[in-house]
Symmetry: C2
Subunit: 427 residues, 2 copies
């Protein structure tokens, strides 16, 4: 029954993630735990071959677990460990394995103690959470009442590991990292996995792919994946091998030519976000930034201040959604707007200069664009001007961005961050 | 073989959604098509009982389709209809049904014609997209090259419908709405479904549930679901019946007592977002708004301007991330900040008054808070003051918000929007 314990899988195992909960089958909810779990498993070299969402239905959940056990070596379940009758993960796993649920007085005492600490009395219903699947190890949950469970067994086709994790991400994440990963590592064949990532701004996915495909398609190890968001592309090279040296050699064969092709469009090699990279450049040069935003309405400011400690380098900004505000708050000459319209290079430069002068920042960036759908200006939706002001004067960029209002605004803010990055690297 | 055609399911069918694509099994990608499909199916009274994500693996995909067909009446597949060898949905559906793939010259001509329209030549590889599963109807795809497919068949346990839809949401959505929904309706037993939704701000999920559970738990029809985001809760009552009158009677029994309990915390009964509701109140009273943001750094401005046409009522704002900026841009007396700190009721009022005076707006809202994690001020992370200025003077609210930096910022912006709504309704 327990041959796996202490032993290794004979090959790198595959995993399936099952998210449990009827609320995850509504049109407003998406399972995000699986993204975290996938990242953690991938880092250990374990691939996720399926992801499933099942409602609070014992029969369906049991069938899904049986099915997963017949296909993969590792089954990770999240959710359904609460105290109510809808919380059926424990029962379904026991059903699928043909085992009993066994009451643990020790766990019950811990749950009761937790309630006492918060000056509350444990309800009778919470005793449900003190049942373990026969043979399971309890995983401690310092952030909640439901303990996790870790089960090692042998299926018809070899060793199996089943993890039962609580649904709330604040409970699941530390439990997985602190308790599941160390246990899992003991069962994995020795291998080294290293990922090298390039984050790229300022080019589209298909252009990027066309540029670097001639290099990466020649290799399956490292495996290359390209993930694209709004104006933000992550190129991941993942190499596996038996030794550190082998893996480094593999990466050093493929990464440098890709790096050379992408050049200064790479904004990060360390996983930092674009706003963090810009923040680090400002901090290390002891300079400050301000912003003047029209169509983006505060999006640039919101992104740059999403980094804790951004008050070290970001002073503030002006949201100038109307022409009158561009004059009232930034001192842009109305005649300039009249002559060139609000979406123009001239006004973008004047907005940046105005923000710099009003805030006293070292640098200022401005964004003026027509986001659509109705054109309030003469410009076509997607027309964007970025302005930049420094001691040396002003600079500007014109862009044509695709998509709907939301996408144009996101791309405009992203492009503005990248414009600041490029200016800071050459200034 | 085709008994279902023209006929109805004998009961309301269940559905399973299968998203196909290895990129959906990475840690950076989540399947969102299923949310749209779920919303559409639910509106027809069809429940989604499972959602699955499978990689580009013919054997696994075939097994998943077989499994789905043995469990539910409707199987919706998205993705895997492209021209490459990784696009295996057509092949897997044919395998699962034991049918052949049949080349359609008509579809091939359409694809070729589409390439010609864009001044490009169709690659040989695109011919793969002209194969239909034996017996399938092609679903036109005006936005892309891959046609969808609609299959009606009979499984061992009754009639089945299988839909093959393209992965890109811009192609999938119109195809589903325009072609799948009308076909599906013909096979559903006659029933009327109506949803009544209350959107609520300013209370937590558990408080709300405690308040209204005594009402809604007495009924299974309408079914009540509660979906909570950051400071934003949607209460959905979904009633089914045979006639419009029956459904209205069911809703009119449950909705009014819930509505009464929630009172003015309901901000929308029409599905409008909070920023849209605030916008409509401003537009209909022909008044204008401006904002002064500290910790939220532009998030309020970004939300209010996410609505097309918001320039009618939103003038602009000032992002004052440092104490010096509160003085420089808003004219807040430095002595006031010295005496009360930047996170105080006094400074919140002065910020709102400053924004109103600088922009000339009818009303102004201000947000000053300690978002953490490190406390730059004397206040504990989560302490928020909102200020409001109008012709009548200033008002303020103090809040203690839970969570990390990101959550505190989101809740602060949400609370500020709701504060404006409440002031506009009483002013």
């Amino acid at each position: 029954m327990w041959e796996l314990r202490g032993g290794e899988f004979s090959k790198v195992p595959d995993a399936e993630i099952i998210a449990v909960g009827s609320e995850l089958l509504t049109h407003e909810r998406v399972d995000t735990n699986s993204l975290f779990i996938t990242e953690q498993l991938n880092a250990l070299g374990v691939e996720v071959s399926r992801k499933l969402v099942v409602g609070d239905d014992r029969r369906r959940l049991t069938a899904a677990i049986r099915d997963a056990l017949s296909n993969v070596e590792i089954v990770v379940l999240s959710g359904g460990l609460g105290p109510t009758e809808d919380d059926l993960t424990r029962d379904a796993v026991a059903d699928a394995l043909g085992r009993k649920l066994i009451f643990s007085q020790g766990i019950c005492d811990q749950i009761e103690e937790r309630f006492r600490r918060f000056q509350r009395k444990m309800a009778e219903i919470n005793k449900r959470q003190a049942y373990l699947v026969e043979g399971a190890d309890a995983l401690e949950n310092p952030r909640g009442t439901a303990p996790g469970q870790w089960i090692e067994t042998n299926g018809e086709t070899g060793g199996r590991i089943i993890m039962l994790l609580p649904g709330p991400p604040g409970e699941l994440k530390p439990m997985f990292t602190d308790q599941c990963v160390p246990r899992l590592v003991r069962h994995l064949p020795p291998q080294v996995i290293r990922v090298r990532q390039f984050r790229v701004a300022g080019m589209g996915e298909s252009d990027l792919d066309q540029l670097i495909a001639p290099v990466y398609t020649k290799y399956t190890n490292p495996a290359t994946t390209i993930l694209a968001g709004a104006g933000d592309i992550h190129v991941n090279l993942r190499a596996r091998g038996e030794t550190e040296e082998e893996v480094e050699r593999l990466l050093n064969e493929v990464a440098p030519p890709i790096e050379e092709l992408l050049g200064d469009r790479i904004y990060s090699r360390s996983g930092d976000s674009l706003e963090a990279v810009v923040g680090n450049l400002l901090r290390s040069s002891k300079t400050t930034l301000s912003v003047a935003e029209s169509c983006t309405g505060g999006l640039f400011g919101q992104r740059i201040t999403s980094i804790a400690g951004s008050s070290d380098y970001f002073l503030g900004g002006l949201i100038v959604y109307s022409d009158a505000m561009k004059t009232a708050l930034l001192g842009v000459d109305p005649a300039l707007i009249e002559a060139h319209t609000a979406v123009s290079e001239e006004v973008a430069r004047a907005m940046a200069a105005g923000a710099r002068s009003k805030t006293g920042s070292t640098y200022a960036i401005s964004i003026t664009c027509e986001a659509g759908p109705r054109s309030a200006t003469a410009a076509a939706p997607g027309t964007v001007f970025l302005g930049f002001a420094s001691e040396a004067g002003t600079d500007a960029r014109k862009l044509h961005l695709p998509g709907d209002r939301n996408r144009i605004r996101n791309l405009a803010a992203q492009s503005a961050l990248d414009f600041v990055r490029r200016k800071l690297m050459t200034t």
